[in-house]
Amino acid sequence: MQTQIIESQLIDDLKKQPNHAAFTILVEKYQERLYWHIRQMVKNHEDTDDVLQNVFIKVHRSIHSFKGDSKLYTWLYRIATNEAITFLNKRAKQYHISSEALQDRLINSLESDLYFEGDEIQIQLQKAIQTLPEKQQTVFRMKYFQDITYEELSEITDTSVGALKSSYHIATKKITDYLKST
């Protein structure tokens, strides 16, 4: 309840002009969660930084149209997901390759990435996730790496908790099978 009051106050403050202080609070509150969400999708730090900036710039421009039908973080996650997907599609088009081929290229470049300290199994895990359908990828990443609750996931993805649990289980099984076969 307390959180809801604070959030509604923050939204009110964001809709006023100037809203520098409220906007700074918003960014500082959600920047890390959204960063890791985007980073899981686009892999590279520089690209993640660009996408994250665009997300908050869009939020700043359109906060007046946020009606509060959903929770603020749900709205932010949706904007971040869309922005990351748009970025990836543009990049694939730019290279004249498919989305799958782009993901392969991004994962293969992780080993030489200055901001990647994962080992071989973490690279294999990324490759395994890549083989999943898009929605299962999203569910698995958000649940496994970001530890988002099923209830929050349900709001973000507009899917029932039961369907999400099933999706996560299937994703885990497929990933395990992939890792066992490599």
Binding site: E32, Q40, K43, H45, T176
Partner: protein, 166 residues
């Protein structure tokens, strides 16, 4: 099996059908997954030092900048599309190749003005080539000139010196 029989079923709690069968399967998958991947749930990604402590100021500065006006003709493709659209508009809307104007609908004055301004390209010889003998005959029959008109015409278009030679 004995143990299962001894479990009291005298309670109000219920579970979904096949829950325990599914539970075993889910548990098995989770154990296998953790055996391969390990317990730490990290993807291995890192960020530069102080990245998050500076990020909000960086974004705030960006929101203060005036919105960029993106030119419609930023790319060559837009130029190409605009050119094709202009050509199509010219052909289908203005329709310069339309032949709705017939020769019969032209005023005599319009034809005369045309011939007068373009007479350097259409000589009496050209006319003779274009028209058949019959058409020339009809033309001479239709043109009824007064003498005065002939004299006026000759005065304005012929050199008296030429007449003297002839």
């Amino acid at each position: 099996m004995e143990d299962s029989k001894n479990i009291s079923k005298n309670n109000d709690y219920k579970v979904p059908e096949n829950y325990f069968i599914n539970f075993q399967e889910r548990l098995q998958v989770q154990i296998e997954f953790e055996e391969i991947v390990g317990l730490k749930k990290e993807a291995g990604f890192t960020v530069p030092d102080d990245y998050f402590s500076n990020f909000s100021q960086k974004v705030l500065q960006q929101t203060q900048q005036p919105t960029k006006v993106v030119s419609l003709f930023k790319s060559k493709w837009m130029y190409a599309v605009a050119s094709i659209a202009a050509i199509l508009l010219f052909i289908f809307v203005l329709n310069p190749f339309s032949t709705t104007t017939t020769f019969d609908s032209l005023e005599n004055d319009t034809i005369a003005a045309y011939l007068e301004t373009n007479n350097s390209f259409l000589s009496a010889y050209d006319l003779g080539e274009l028209l058949t003998d019959e058409e020339l005959e009809n033309l001479s029959n239709e043109i009824q000139l007064e003498d005065t008109e002939v004299i006026d015409y000759l005065n304005t278009t012929t050199d008296p010196y030429d007449l003297m030679i002839q």
